[in-house]
Subunit: 577 residues, 2 copies
């Protein structure tokens, strides 16, 4: 059965790329796959026991919100307070329902994370096995696909080449939001046109907030379409008690750790470079922390700690330089330093500098003589002068279309190398450092978003997807698919759905309350950070590098899960086991 593609019934611009996408000419052909890809294609992820037989969907007690429950209740009058649910063994009251066929749409939202395809195959297999005659639509290119009613019917053939494969290319993703009345109306028209019983939104914190808005909107209009979210982000910052981790984090961290481990071995073999490695993860430093726990770098900077201690660029620079000097005394002129992508967002003085620069540059010309700098506060001027010349230029010249400094483009790892070099040169002049500092810079980002999902992510995503089928089939809406007990073997995993409203708080923006799922930051009192903090002094001066090697899919190491999850769930921490 060839994929059937809808024509666009709304008035939107169709770009050439979308035309080609519609003809599926960029989709995968499994015939071109390598042996490993084919092995993974034919791998069937195990399901939790509870999903293998008969189960009931049991309501818990009414739920509240993560903060400001009154405001959340006002924003979600139809959804607020509904119970979270869990699956328990036994014959269901919904048995009759479970013979009913469903029409479901699924959308991938935001950046890629390994395992997204398995969520979709989990939904698909649920429908095939437990709701025969159902239809699964994949909206193309993210939420815009819902608004533009651009979709592909997901058949066995369409899905097959993506089983256990990385990427989001089965239906692609996008970063649009469905927020304005006009956008909500477009979404309504699409789900009505396709007669959808349910919509699955696979995304991060913002996308799940958006899923909840859609669920509320559909319910407020007595529409039959239910909405279920799925926790996706390699950054690992969408999690709570019921949702122990977001998918993709495990794989991304293991890919980065493979690379870090290789660079560590290289550093030790060569003996003359400090490798500064920037890791993806803008808002939170979970990736850096997990990679540190996996590989034992000499230094790992955790943004949340920098913010909590109100550190300055100079503090961070000195901290690194201090360790480099101590290592030299011990005879080591090499090392590995992990830096979170979002580091400078955590440094208050840098944020302030950027605010001032945006303000000044909106109105003034940057004159060669530097007269413009007089408008900076003295503190910001001092910081600006402290920054390497290259970074100064980047701040002044590379602006986004709104004229704002493009913080994301700043190569933090290069900046740190230059600042550390300057600091060490000054120490050399004072006789306090006699080494030859040579920095090498790396950014590990895109490499980790689309790798083959680890067995953990493949299994977790498959269960998450299968569970969304259950939740939609039993008529639930406004929930996020929740699979728990993740440090146990897969058959012992728990399955349920958590109310999205219970994860929410509000932020005040432009005089309005805006619902948000708060990002889960690195908890400086939590087990992963505490473990790191207890070990890092040893890692700094001794060389206890660990090279985890490439992800394996078979063999004894194939089912390892990440340290963050193990530590947060209280499992034994296997260092030196």
């Amino acid at each position: 059965m060839a994929p059937s593609v809808a024509t666009n019934s709304f008035s939107v611009t169709v770009t050439p790329r979308e035309e080609v996408e519609a003809s599926q000419s960029h989709s995968r052909l499994a015939s071109e796959y390598t042996q490993l890809q084919r092995n993974r294609l034919n791998h069937s992820p195990p399901l939790p026991s509870i999903l293998q037989t008969s189960f009931q969907v049991v309501d818990g007690p009414p739920t509240s919100a993560a903060g400001n429950p009154n405001e959340i209740a006002n924003l979600f009058p139809n959804l607020y307070g509904q119970p979270s649910v869990s699956l328990v063994a036994g014959h269901s009251d919904q048995v009759k329902n479970q013979s009913k066929s469903l029409k479901i749409g699924v959308v991938l939202s935001g950046g890629q994370a390994p395992g997204g395809h398995n969520v979709i195959t989990g939904i698909f297999d649920y429908l095939e096995e437990r709701a025969k005659g159902s239809t699964l639509y994949g909206f193309k290119g993210g939420p815009a696909g819902i608004m533009k009613c651009k979709y592909v019917m997901l058949s066995t053939q369409v899905i097959y080449p993506y089983r256990n494969q990385g990427g989001f290319d089965m239906i692609c993703s996008g970063r649009d939001k469905i927020e304005t009345p006009e956008q909500l109306k477009q979404a309504e028209e699409t789900v009505k046109k396709l007669d959808l019983d349910g919509l699955v939104v696979i995304g991060g914190d913002d996308s799940n907030t958006n899923a909840c808005l859609l669920a509320e909107n559909f319910r407020s209009k007595n529409m039959k379409t239910r909405v279920i979210g799925c926790p996706k982000t390699i950054d690992g910052d969408l999690k709570c008690k019921e949702v122990p981790t977001s998918f993709g984090f495990d794989t991304a961290c293991k890919i980065y750790s493979e690379m870090i481990g290789n660079v560590m071995t290289d550093a030790r073999s060569t003996g003359k470079y400090y490798h500064f490695i920037r890791l993806m993860g803008r808002a939170a430093s979970h990736i850096t922390l997990e990679c540190a726990l996996q590989t034992h770098p000499n230094i790992a900077i955790i943004g949340e700690e920098v913010a909590a201690k109100k550190l300055t660029m100079k503090n961070v620079t000195n901290h690194i330089a201090d360790i480099i000097c101590k290592r030299l005394e011990l005879g080591f002129n090499y090392g590995v330093i992990l830096v979170p992508e979002g580091l400078i967002d955590f440094i208050p003085e840098v944020k302030q500098l950027i605010v001032e620069l945006n303000e000044i540059l909106a109105h003034d010309v940057v004159d060669e003589a530097g007269v413009w700098k007089r408008k900076l506060t003295s503190q910001c001027k001092e910081l600006f002068e402290f920054l390497p010349h290259e970074i100064q230029e980047q701040l002044l010249l590379e602006r986004d279309p709104h004229g704002n400094v493009q913080v994301a483009k700043i190569e933090t790892e290069k900046m740190l190398i230059q600042m550390v070099k300057t600091e060490l040169d000054q120490r050399r002049q004072k006789g306090a450092y006699r080494g030859q500092f040579q920095g090498q810079h790396h950014f590990f980002g895109y490499e980790g978003r689309c790798g083959f999902p680890t067995n953990f992510d493949a299994n977790y995503c498959y269960a998450l997807g299968y569970a969304t089928g259950v939740l939609l089939h039993s008529g639930k809406t406004g929930l996020i698919s929740s699979v728990g007990n993740l440090t146990a073997p897969v058959n012992e995993w728990t399955v349920g759905g958590t109310t999205l409203t219970s994860l929410m708080d509000v932020e005040r923006r432009h005089g309005h309350f805006k619902p948000v799922i708060k990002k889960a930051m690195v908890d400086l009192e939590g087990s992963p950070f505490m473990k790191f903090a207890s070990l890092r002094d040893d890692w700094a001066l001794k060389n206890q590098y660990v090279n985890p090697g490439p992800i394996q899919f078979v063999g004894p190491s194939a089912n390892d899960i990440n340290y963050t999850l193990k530590l947060e769930l209280g499992a034994h921490f296997p260092f030196q086991s």
Copy 2:
């Protein structure tokens, strides 16, 4: 048995790092290893059948040189013309010798390549099994370790934590040469002091040339120390008929291909970025070619082709821009482009520019007004003006201690992004391009030099090492360890030694003939390039990306070997198999 460390008997400066190295405090502790590391530790690489039982070392016919045999004969009067050897089944005349114990030194020379540790364990295991009572010394930090007589005795315990592990950190490496009379004398003193029967030099083309000089020198003085080389380099540019590949190439290309495949999947999922990926490999483009065969990028630039066609920067830029424009017409605003690290070394006009810049900047000041540019020839001036501002600055400002332009520091992938962007902007103004070009830059280098060796590299290196034991035990010198028939199962591999003089030619430098093992460049008439050339037009416009995934050590894909080797050895090419 704890490692015994010699005190330094020569007058050399001992830096703090070396003191610490000497105390082994940075060496590995297997107790800290991950499960995968431990699995690999306990893996025994299979040996070719010929090495498992009794064999004879059989001389072939006299050999000549790769070029200028008379000059090579003059430079190596004691070695020139000696036969290469091969191992055949049967009881050896050297049986008596084979009971004799040996004293062997081993040194790692130059950049890391996965598998180096396995060469050493291969030598060690040969000595343990077939020359009981032997001693293996590891010279520390490369050839400098020989000159300074810095070594560690390699015991079972010292070697164990490095079995099948990446890196060179067991004894570390270095880039020194042993060339001057003084240096040769130091080496003589060391091998005499340690009473060495043999020395194994694990290195690339230069290091093996150096090995041959040492062999010649020792023989000319009737010293008993024999010298055997081993072919190491991830760049893949040390190979010939008898030495089908250098070790490390297989692993490095697979690590880079894993990353490239992930980036490709990301590119297709996101649909908005052109990823420019620079790959290690300065002198030759084998890595880029192999990674292209593994992953099917839209464009892969092969330096040797650029040189053969005498392409300019503008040609290369236009070629990329043309494909980007054609892809846009097909609806694709994304892609992956592989660039060899050494690209600009292959472009004649860039080489000329650098020569002129070095000349001018040695004598003149770079004035703001640009008067200095008048000294450039018009052609070089035009090229200089064509280069992005950032690259211009890099050429002018970043000089090595001799005042020369640091070509190696130029981020070619960034330079190409900027030049392609400029070209596309010009085309946009003419109405010939309507897309939004966004480039992402990557450099994959250090990540690939120290990964866990693939099964192929682990086995190949172990056989190479074991073979050096055989060659030294049978009294051979001036050979490079040669293991062949590599596309067959390991037990069918052939084993022998090839005279280093037969790989040599001379270059005239400063009025003298200097022996060199010529780098094996990508052969534009060879099977790997021809296969690539026959497929690249399809890869450019269609999206036939392959994501090979992470290296596996068990399972059906674990023993795949690379395409370059398969194609050069005439094995079936398994695309679309």
